[in-house]
């Protein structure tokens, strides 16, 4: 390790000297340039606002600076988010087409796109074609089961990773690896040819199944079926749960670290067990971060839900020919629907569900949350 540290130090020095070599002539050049008359004028123009502001009251000066600091963000927000967002809403209510020479054109057609979604559209999910509403329900169930599992799991893991044991650094390093490798491209690459992954995972999974079948054990023990399904799905998706909960574990870890030590000391003096300390101290103190973690979980699980795949097929109309054929049909005998319009409608439904789930989660969790200051 010492050798590595020395090597790193040398590399740091080398990089530092390299940057110094580069920046020294740049600095000299800038010093020369800034003395010229033209540059003085430019600097005068640039310094116009600070000079104007200098004479003002402290408070107003801060307000003006606050606005100036937020100007780039405002421009970015409007261009990269707000206008596309409004576009999406407009597209979902209209027939969109592109004509050579004229560019993008759209006609208002009311809620026909949504009618099409909920009445006509079928989506292939898990190798079978099902109506859009049914598909939505399945996706929502998937996400709704994900949230409690991930939150509970990450809270437990944060507590475990916070306690002292041998090899903690290694375990922590391994646990946060999924945060790094979690890439959509890799997921797609691995999922592209499912047979390959199945061939190896089956060989390994069979071994475990022969030894111990979790689902059979629970059903034989007369557990209610919904509980059995929930638990077996949770245990079979353990890899997903671990890979999705890296950030949440980090959030909870930081929250646990910031709990005042004296609370634990007092509890220990009174003879509280670890279990009691968790429920009476750690959980209430960490609960404000539960909100942040929950919102992040909802957002993240939406990004990984099958909805994204559906949207991706609609993003690139050229890619799928079947869809265009289907959309080319005259719906209700009145209006023609465009591919973009239907895709935008799906987006709006997607966003609405995300917002509703976030609000519901916030509503439920805000009852659990305890604030130390109040």
């Amino acid at each position: 390790m010492n050798k590595i540290k020395k090597a790193l130090h040398k590399a740091k020095e080398a990089v530092g000297s390299f940057f110094q070599k580069i920046f020294a002539p740049v600095k000299r050049w800038w010093h020369k340039v800034s003395q010229t008359k033209f540059m003085q004028k430019v600097i005068n123009v640039l310094a116009f606002i600070p000079r104007k502001i200098k004479g003002l009251k402290n408070h107003t000066r801060k307000v003006i600076w606050g606005l100036i600091f937020l100007v780039p963000l405002m421009i970015g927000f409007i261009y990269f988010f707000l206008i596309p967002f409004i576009y999406t809403i407009w597209f979902s209510l209209s027939y969109v087409y592109i004509r050579a020479g004229e560019g993008l054109k759209s006609e208002f057609i009311g809620i026909d796109n949504f009618k099409y979604l909920f009445n006509v559209l079928n989506i292939t999910y898990n190798y079978e074609s099902i109506p859009f509403t049914q598909y939505l329900v399945q996706v929502i169930i998937l996400i709704a089961t994900d949230i409690p599992i991930i939150l509970i799991f990450s809270l437990i893991m944060a507590v475990v990773l916070n306690s002292k044991f041998k090899g903690r650094a290694l375990v922590r390093a391994i646990f946060f690896m999924p945060v790094i490798f979690n890439s959509q491209a890799i997921d797609m690459a691995v999922a592209a040819i499912p047979e390959l992954a199945e061939s190896t995972s089956n060989a390994t999974a069979d071994l475990f199944n022969q030894m111990f079948s979790f689902k059979e054990f629970l059903t034989n023990a007369n557990f209610p079926t919904w509980l059995v399904n929930f638990l077996s799905s949770a245990s079979s998706r353990i890899y997903d749960v671990i890979t999705y909960s890296g950030i949440q574990i980090l959030i909870f870890l930081s929250a646990i670290q910031s709990v005042p030590r004296h609370l634990y000391e007092a509890a220990k003096m009174e003879g509280a067990t670890q279990y009691e300390m968790f429920w009476k101290i750690t959980f209430p103190m960490v609960s404000p971060m539960l909100l942040a973690a929950a919102v992040y979980t909802v957002v993240d699980s939406f990004l990984r839900s099958p909805m994204v795949k559906t949207l991706q097929t609609y993003d690139n109309p050229g890619k799928i020919i079947e869809g265009i054929g289907e959309l080319g049909k005259v719906v209700d005998g009145v209006h023609q629907l465009s591919f973009y319009g239907a895709g935008a409608a799906i987006s709006i439904v997607f966003f609405a569900i995300a917002a509703v789930i976030v609000l519901v989660v916030l509503g439920i969790l805000s009852r659990v949350v305890f604030y130390y200051d109040e």
Partner: protein
């Protein structure tokens, strides 16, 4: 000591005094004391003979009680020996008793002792706690080993794919350990990843490094403005709007974005298939998950004591000077966290890379977009650059879907490799930095 004992002692003392000494002798014994007292009482009037007699009587009584007390103490010491001796005697006697007992009796005695120990409440608590601790550590190690295995499994799987020869693909018996070892897959995967440009790896690292720096600057400025340079109502509303960008999934805006960006350039810069698109986006605070970073910086700057800023202001620093020289150097923890996450997410990003069409050889082919290419692209590449290998293996393997999957997995491993190597150097920073940012509460 009972009353009877006291009386007996008193009687015996009185008898002894009568036998051995007269009253005068007693008074002689106390002569020195009385002399001293007389000296003290010099200034006072001399006592009458009656009073003298009374005094002598009192002195005698006092002497008797004193003697009584001494005797009683002596007797007590004789009756009760020192406590250490008791313990020793008892132990000896117990051992002796045990030796004389039969085995069954001895066991019975042990059992009785154990019962007493078992029911002892303090010992019970200690025992319970220790048992819980041992059980907890065993449980924890099992769970942790299992979970670590689950996390490492896909990586190990990819390593296993990478080191097997292409002809092993149709071999049913090869699951983990290959029959023929070779790094041919790695070579093929590398050529597949660098299909559009020779510098795909460098492109990815270069793009994410520059984006990281730009994003740190942009989000720190925004976070500082949200935390300290508050404009009434506007700041809070705008902050929640920025957080809204997190809740709206990116994918739901793809159509509108691609059409809108093609239609209207951003300040006369067309973003589609432009190398600088990602930099521009990051600079305007709307880069990859910038809202999280803004939230982080705002939370951090709120935690910095106001006195620090005020003292800088008193010394004549303007807003920019305060931000640059006082606040930013203090926000090292937040900067490290934001830098690490923004680098990693940018490196793994696929959405914006496809939105801005980076995959064109003229633009900036990235690892992610190359990896998510099509099958036909791969086949054409394979047939042109690995002619001899195809002749060796036969056409069937080259056309096999499984073989394509194998190469994709190896490519994924190759893509991860720079990050894995870097991760084991900065892993400590990664875990500890977020602890130091001090994000607590919403």
């Amino acid at each position: 000591m009972t009353n009877k004992d006291e009386k007996e002692i008193q009687e015996s003392v009185e008898q002894e005094i009568k036998e051995t000494t007269s009253i005068d002798e007693v008074s002689n014994l106390e002569k020195e004391d009385t002399k001293k007292r007389k000296k003290k009482n010099d200034s006072e009037e001399e006592l009458t003979p009656e009073e003298k007699e009374e005094q002598a009587k009192k002195e005698r009584d006092m002497y008797i009680t004193k003697l009584c007390a001494d005797r009683a103490l002596e007797q007590m010491q004789e009756e009760t020996p020192l406590p250490e001796e008791i313990v020793q005697e008892e132990a000896v006697s117990e051992e002796a008793v045990l030796e004389n007992l039969t085995f069954a009796q001895r066991m019975k005695k042990h059992m009785e002792q154990a019962k007493v120990n078992w029911n002892d409440p303090t010992k019970k608590m200690v025992r319970n706690r220790r048992a819980l601790e041992i059980f907890g550590t065993i449980f924890r190690t099992f769970i942790l080993i299992g979970l670590c295995f689950v996390i490492l499994l896909p990586v190990l799987q990819k390593v296993s794919y990478a080191i097997r020869a292409p002809q092993d693909i149709s071999n049913q018996q090869v699951v983990w350990i290959p029959e023929h070892w070779s790094l041919m897959n790695v070579k093929i995967a590398y050529t597949y990843l660098t299909i559009n440009s020779n510098t795909t790896f460098l492109n990815s690292i270069f793009l994410s490094a520059i984006c990281m720096v730009i994003q740190i600057m942009a989000t720190a400025v925004a976070g500082y403005a949200f935390a300290r340079l508050k404009v009434k109502y506007f700041s809070n509303i705008f902050f929640y709007l920025v957080i809204l960008t997190l809740v709206v999934p990116n994918e739901s805006l793809t159509i509108a974005r691609s059409l809108f960006f093609q239609d209207t350039p951003f300040f006369f810069v067309n973003l589609i298939s432009n190398v600088f698109a990602m930099f521009i986006m990051s600079a305007f605070g709307m880069g990859l998950r910038s809202a999280i970073f803004i939230y982080l910086f705002r939370q951090f700057f709120r935690g910095v004591p106001i006195e620090l800023e005020e003292s800088a202001e008193v010394d004549g620093a303007g807003v920019i000077r305060t931000f640059w020289s006082v606040m930013l150097p203090n926000a090292r923890g937040a900067i490290v966290t934001v830098g690490l996450f923004s680098f990693v997410w940018q490196y793994n990003d696929f959405y914006y890379a496809t939105l801005y069409k980076f995959n064109d050889p003229k633009v900036l082919p990235l690892l992610t977009t190359s990896l998510a290419g099509s099958v036909s692209q791969f086949r054409s590449m394979f047939e042109t650059s690995f002619r001899t290998l195809i002749n060796e293996l036969g056409e069937t393997i080259a056309r096999d879907d499984k073989f394509y999957g194998l190469i994709l997995n190896t490519g994924a491993l190759l893509m991860m490799l720079p990050l894995i190597i870097a991760y084991f150097f900065v892993q400590r920073l990664f875990v500890e930095s977020i602890e130091r940012t001090g994000i607590t509460g919403m």
